[in-house]
């Protein structure tokens, strides 16, 4: 503990109420890390192809998606803070805001996939796009799971005290949602920005 208070946990400290979810997150991001390294190793064998393929990605869409996840992440932080203070209606508002903004990522990603498919680009086009679809696809599944979690929390917080037993669930859901953001923070520059355009 940075402040030396190892005893009674303060409400909301992820270290205390959510070791399970933190274990899951560190395992999950480590698996993603292996995929990142595999991508870079494969890239090193086919640099021109990977850079050429990467340059066909829409940086603006990737940027927008980064901003969407970060903003949604901020709203989840505010939801957790409100829950810690027992403010149920404020918690629900922030959870809803996080869900609505977060949905933008899904819409954006579907537009991006649709554009690629419309141009005849898919998983089998080349090794870059194989990694592109697998990495962003697995991340997208994590994103969808996060959206389900946000929706479930929103329903559960209706009529139940947010600073009681439910708090741990809100906090765990929030940590998971931040993981989706954290992964995209690395995926975006690695896939979209490494090669010259």
């Amino acid at each position: 503990m940075t402040d030396g208070s190892q005893g009674a946990p303060a409400q909301g400290a992820p270290s205390v109420s959510a070791p399970g979810i933190l274990t899951f997150i560190i395992a999950d991001v480590t698996i993603f890390g292996v995929l990142f390294v595999a991508f870079m190793v494969e890239r090193s064998h086919q640099v021109p192809l990977f850079n050429q393929s990467s340059s066909s990605l829409d940086v603006r869409l990737g940027l927008l998606n980064t901003l969407v996840l970060m903003t949604s992440g901020l709203f989840v932080v505010l939801a957790v803070l409100a829950a810690g203070q027992g403010r149920a209606s404020v918690t629900r508002q922030w959870l809803l805001a996080s869900f609505v903004v977060g949905a933008g990522f899904g819409i954006n990603k579907l537009i991006e996939y649709g554009d690629k498919f419309a141009h005849g680009i898919n998983l089998l086009t080349n090794d870059f796009f194989m990694f592109y679809f697998v990495l962003t696809g697995v991340h997208f599944v994590h994103f969808l799971a996060g959206m389900v979690v946000l929706a479930l929390l929103w329903f559960r917080t209706r009529g139940e005290a947010v600073d009681g037993p439910l708090f741990g669930w809100i906090e765990s859901g929030a940590l998971y949602w931040h993981m989706v953001d954290l992964l995209w923070i690395v995926i975006f520059p690695m896939l979209y920005l490494l090669g010259s355009r």
Partner: protein
Amino acid sequence: MNHTSPAQAIRVWLFLVAATLCSGWLGEHHGFAGRWTAVAVMFVAALKGRAVILYFMELKGAPRGWRVAFELWVWLLPALIVALWAMSGGA
């Protein structure tokens, strides 16, 4: 405790937005930083990841083990990506 306050969370978000826009601009204008673009965008990614784990995930106040594990990931992965990028000719 080291709780992230709403004002602190908003400051972190502003940093994340600014950093994202900077790296996006650098990525689209490779001429500006040249070969250093890849290093710059991955360094920014590490800084952003660190801001998320420390303030959004509140690991700043977590036991040292958790913080170290996540900080390792946040620095090691971008460093590995840059190393592999450099080993493949830095292109």
